[in-house]
Amino acid sequence: MGSLLRELTGEYEAYLRDESHTVGRADWIAFPRTEEEVARVLREAWERDIPVTLQGGRTGISAGCVPHGGVVVSLSRMTRAEGCRALDDGRFSFLLQPGVVLSELGKWVESKRFDTRGWDGESLAAYGGFCRAGEFFFSPDPTERSACIGGMAACNASGARSYCYGPVRDHILSLRAVLMDGRTVALRRGERFARGLDFELPCEDGSVLRGRLPGYAMPATKNTSGYYCAPDMDLMDLFIGSDGTLAALTQVEAALLPLPAFQWCVNAYFMEEGQAIAFVKAVRDSVPKAAAIEYFDGDALNILRRQRAENPAFAALPPVPDGAAAAVCVELHDDDRASIQERLFRLGEQLTAAGGREENTQVARTAADVAALKFFRHAVPESVNMLIAQRKKLDPVITKLGTDMAVPDDRLEEVVALYRRGLAETGLQSAVWGHAGNNHLHVNILPRNGDDYRRGKALYADWARAVTGMGGAVSSEHAVGKAKADFLEIMYGPEHIAGMRALKRVFDPKGLLGQDNLFTKEGN
């Protein structure tokens, strides 16, 4: 059998970078199509001591899949659904290869059209049930719909609706993975647990991995900073959010949820940031089961005003009322019309109490309106990326500096004050938006020149320290990758980073997989 490694020539240049816009280097690239081929590629690299960087959709913004030498293993051609299972509670799950793209999965689920070629009888029977049953959806919704399921699992992606439904971790029922030396592991949720911090994990060839988990306490926030570790944990959780450093995921079983009959969305505009934050807290306390609570500051709204006026591609954006200095977007899901209407009106009361006006709202109750508000939400990061791309032409050192930190519920006002103080003191340009319900705001520093960029980075590191002090997470949904390794050390300290290194050695003794993700390779 020949090698599946191809020389990484110019035509594969795109595989040296991701959405972090950092560019790596690699000598080879491989595009396995099956788990067996993944095992062959990894075993060959292991035997030849070649570092391996795993890739999916290359949509990450933490440089987790940007190679630092060796071979790029792109799982982007493993795009099949391999089976379906009917769950005891009337839901369904699908066994997905890691390269299945989120937007494709969405289409398959919505239209109930999967390519079932090669499925066994049990899967086909379950699939028949799925087609006859009601409607379902896959709840994790990172803004980037071209992300793929393997990458989403590797960084424990979430998105706006994880406020209600949790991150991708909560929706994975089983995994298959290939270790660096080619051994395979199969894990199903609820079947294999650590004993305290010690664990034993059998591989499919009968060998057993034994190790000890680092003893850090994870923050009680949305979190994807380093390995998921807790006493007596389900060992499947080790692989989710492991940033491509422990094993290559070759199959992810994704569970669907019943689609709520009503999905409404309200944009509420405020004249002051403090009013918007007060509204967020009121919604959290008194409007049960909001699916998402998203925030946009005045700078983000100004970017949208400009885009709507100047760029024909954004002309259909809902208009931002004059004077609005902040907006909160609340998504409501419900199966009962009277109930969702009652919750909608309660939102109205809360926003009035917070200092807003019911006239300054946009209520989306139809698919077209919901799509318009989704466009609004997505247009913010998209516009900022366009702005940064323009500035990068003037100074190539410039990239977007976007924070991804979350704090506990009682620290929301404190963290907003921290950001405002830092931005005012440095005079840096910014736009702030994100998942306010989870106290998880993306502060995007928009450097105008190289100096801004350096000062922004320093500010970002200061915030990482302060957020750690509040019991928060330095990375909450984008994962650590290579871009945020320094912050991980700030958050957990050198001792626990050593514990993570030791954990990684159990799975990858040569330290070849996902080099420089989470922490730099020892000795570097």
């Binding site: 259909a316 300054n360 989306a364 309106d369």
Partner: protein, 260 residues
Amino acid sequence: MRIVVCIKQVPSTNEVRLDPETHTILRDGRQSVVNPFDAHAIEEAVRWKEARGGSVLAVSMGIPAVEELLRDALARGADEAVLLTDRAFAGADTLATSRTLAAGIRRAGPFDLILCGKMAVDGDTAQIGPELAEQLGIPHLTDVDAILSVEEGRVTVSRRGENGPETAQAALPALLTLTREINVPRMPDLTGVRRSLTAPFVRWGADDLDVDPARCGLKGSPTQVVRTFVPRRERETVFLEGAPAQQAAQMLEIVREVLS
């Protein structure tokens, strides 16, 4: 100025799914929506009302559940709504529908303008607007992408003619059918949603209107549907691998197979 807007309920998707085992059509239970072209008609009516004063009446013929769509129009700024609903109206083609709509609009009182979407996305006929104008004996202009003025008893519009854009005029009262380019529909605000629950709303059946039941619904429809079916379409993507010569040979094989 009193403006009447006609709206139609259409399925939210035109995708048809089949049960893989029984090969019967799967009803997805997804909500019906207002015909997208009609959403622009509502917006245009509300804009003219806001600019010139007056009121907007939303009218639809359909099943009782269409109330929800009419209430949505009220939330977006319409002032009153009429739902024409009766078993006698069921199964209507465009001719019977336009007769019923005309009767409903006559009963609703005098008006200056009727705005319709240029067509419905389910039937694609674009017939209701012109037929309704003929039933009411008023002029109509189709495919309007801007209303330029409404003054001195005349409406002036720009429309997409067969030879490109043209300016046209009609005496009021008149009926216009609108394209999607005419505006970007707004979203309701919370006060609108609250108002929509209490705004004037009436339901009229065949007995409430001056219509001949034999000229409504299926009975009054000259159009006969003989059969409906989903066209069969099969597509498959095959990636050919190997050296160019091998790929060419595989391609030849596939072409032969298709032609045989």
